[in-house]
């Protein structure tokens, strides 16, 4: 992450994008929660090989789950 983040501005922008009207009495707790969430998110981002896929790639096997008789 480069530059100093304005977490309150981010919070307001993301809430608006999600169509949320945060009740005023819940705003401070949500903002504190967003700061905490941001720390957790930082832990997810690390250097990985581009070919290393995710755990939930599209799979016909998964799509057909439940449409076939068990083996």
């Amino acid at each position: 992450m480069t530059g100093k983040r304005d977490l309150e501005k981010e919070f307001d922008a993301l809430a608006a994008r999600a169509g949320l009207m945060i009740p005023p009495e819940r705003r401070q707790a949500m903002l504190d929660g967003y700061r905490d969430l941001s720390v957790m998110i930082e832990r997810l981002h690390r250097s990985r090989d581009a070919a290393q896929d995710t755990a939930h790639v599209y799979s016909p096997e998964i799509l057909l789950h439940g449409r076939r008789r068990p083996a």
Partner: protein, 466 residues
């Protein structure tokens, strides 16, 4: 005999029912009287299904009289967390948003209990939609801990743990997305097992996070837990996460002891974790000594950082939960309890790239954990980091990343994990540990749990509920 009916294991009650020394109606009436006597002070139940229970018990007795035996739950009382759909019976998720919801069909778990002739006592308190809590701004009060009513039973399967610990029933079903079976079991001095992801169908259970949710039992003893798995495990093509694997007899190895087993201990997870109680660590060490004395080999192992598992699990959980409830968060925000809202809505602030990286990290953590598990038979680590918290601090805001339990890693990876009690704290509240197994390695963790139960003198009843 009636004074100790609530302390009969499922197996012992089953034997008495089959021998004709007791009827299901007698057993059920005893449970209902116990609930009527105590639950105004514990709030474990949201809905008590008295007529249904008596009807189920009568049907079970009639089946016994005809010589029919449909399985170990025939005639045995049980209860369900109020996120399990029950046809014709309200399923509220402990939420104002679902007060009028009466399902048309039973969930898969209820289908299995009914098919065996079990006796449904009712629906149990939870944290709203299985997250947040304990909350005092909901239509029903939070459940209380039978060991001390001024303390929380944990959550989200709060009513399930309280009901078993109070001796209302030997078996209550919970659900677990980040520790909601093991956490409350730990705080209430009972057994709670989160099986391998996919072992028990979640069809008809209101989801919190599809890829992390597990169904599982909270029970008074390890044997009761094994019986519950025997009844409930199995492939369900209508649950996208269901695993098509063979089902072992989960009681088969219960008395095999731990001689020759190699048990890994990731001490770096819990030994100096923020908020860990010295008494919890001492309780784990006491249990490890007992296992060593019974012939197990205890070795230190190293897993990835605990905080990686916790962050990964919480990001996925908040994101999936927000996707489930987004319409209501936009249109009815104040109908959610404050603590539910303040956690679930965080899912709206996670980017597409964030969630993809969370899933990539999840795969890395699962593989790293599996590699460590392949060097031993099971792991033992902390479950709840302290004794049950008092309700006194209920208005204090806690960080979403804060958890009183170290349970999330095994929801992230899907490995089976069971909470078992260790010792009592100096305040007289139960402490615990958890045993983690290889994928579909429930037999081994049940075996270790049973050995510990015998060595440490459980199950025990809370003093107020002797």
């Amino acid at each position: 005999m009636s004074a100790a009916l609530h302390d009969l294991s499922i197996a012992d009650a089953g034997r008495a029912l089959r021998a004709g020394g007791m009827t299901s109606q007698h057993l059920t009436q005893h449970a209902l009287e116990r609930i009527a006597s105590f639950d105004t002070r514990l709030n474990a139940f949201i809905t008590l299904t008295v007529e249904r229970a008596l009807r189920d018990a009568q049907a079970a007795d009639a089946a016994f009289a005809r010589g029919e035996d449909r399985g170990p739950m025939q005639g045995i009382p049980y209860a369900l967390k109020d996120i399990y759909d029950t046809a014709g019976i309200a399923t509220t998720c402990h939420s104002k948003l679902r007060m009028d919801h009466v399902p048309q069909a039973d969930c898969a778990v209820e289908e299995k209990f009914r098919a065996q002739g079990g006796v449904l006592l009712g629906k149990l308190a939870t944290f709203e939609f299985a997250l947040g809590g304990p909350s005092f701004d909901l239509p029903f009060p939070p459940a209380r801990n039978p060991w001390n009513r001024e303390h929380s039973p944990g959550g989200s399967s709060s009513g399930s743990a309280a009901a078993v610990a109070a001796g209302y029933t030997r078996l209550a079903m919970g659900s677990c997305t980040g520790g909601s079976i093991r956490g409350p079991a730990a705080l209430c001095g009972i057994v709670g097992i989160k099986p391998t992801y996919g072992l028990i169908s979640r069809r008809g259970i209101f989801p919190l996070s599809w890829s992390l949710d597990h169904a599982g039992p909270l029970t008074a003893s390890v044997e009761d837990a094994a019986i519950a798995l025997e009844v409930l495990a199995g492939y369900d093509p209508r649950d996208q996460g269901s695993a098509n694997v063979s089902r072992p007899g989960f009681r088969a190895m219960l008395e095999a002891g731990v001689k020759g087993l190699r048990i890994g201990v990731p001490r770096h997870f819990f030994e100096n974790a923020p908020g860990v109680s010295r008494e919890v660590v001492a309780g784990i060490d006491h249990a490890l000594d007992a296992l060593r004395e019974h012939g197990a080999t205890i070795v230190d192992v190293r897993l990835p950082d605990y905080d990686d598992y916790a962050a990964c699990g919480r990001i996925i959980m908040f994101t999936e939960a927000f996707a489930i409830h987004e319409k209501d968060f936009r249109e009815r925000p104040l109908d959610f309890a404050a603590s539910t809202y303040q956690r679930m809505v965080l899912g709206a602030f996670v980017s597409g790239a964030d969630i993809i990286q969370a899933h990539r990290l999840r795969r890395e953590l699962a593989l790293a954990s599996q590699n460590v598990l392949e060097t031993c038979d099971a792991l033992i680590t902390a479950c709840a980091l302290d004794e049950a918290p008092s309700f006194g601090g209920r208005d204090n805001w806690t960080k979403p990343s804060d958890s009183p339990n170290q349970t999330m890693p095994w929801n992230v990876t899907g490995h089976p994990a069971i909470a078992v009690p260790t010792v009592l704290s100096s305040a007289g509240l139960p402490l615990s540990l958890q045993i983690v197994g290889k994928f579909f390695g429930e037999l081994v963790i049940l075996r270790i749990a049973r050995a510990l139960e015998k060595a440490l003198g459980w199950p025990r009843r809370a003093p107020d509920f002797v």
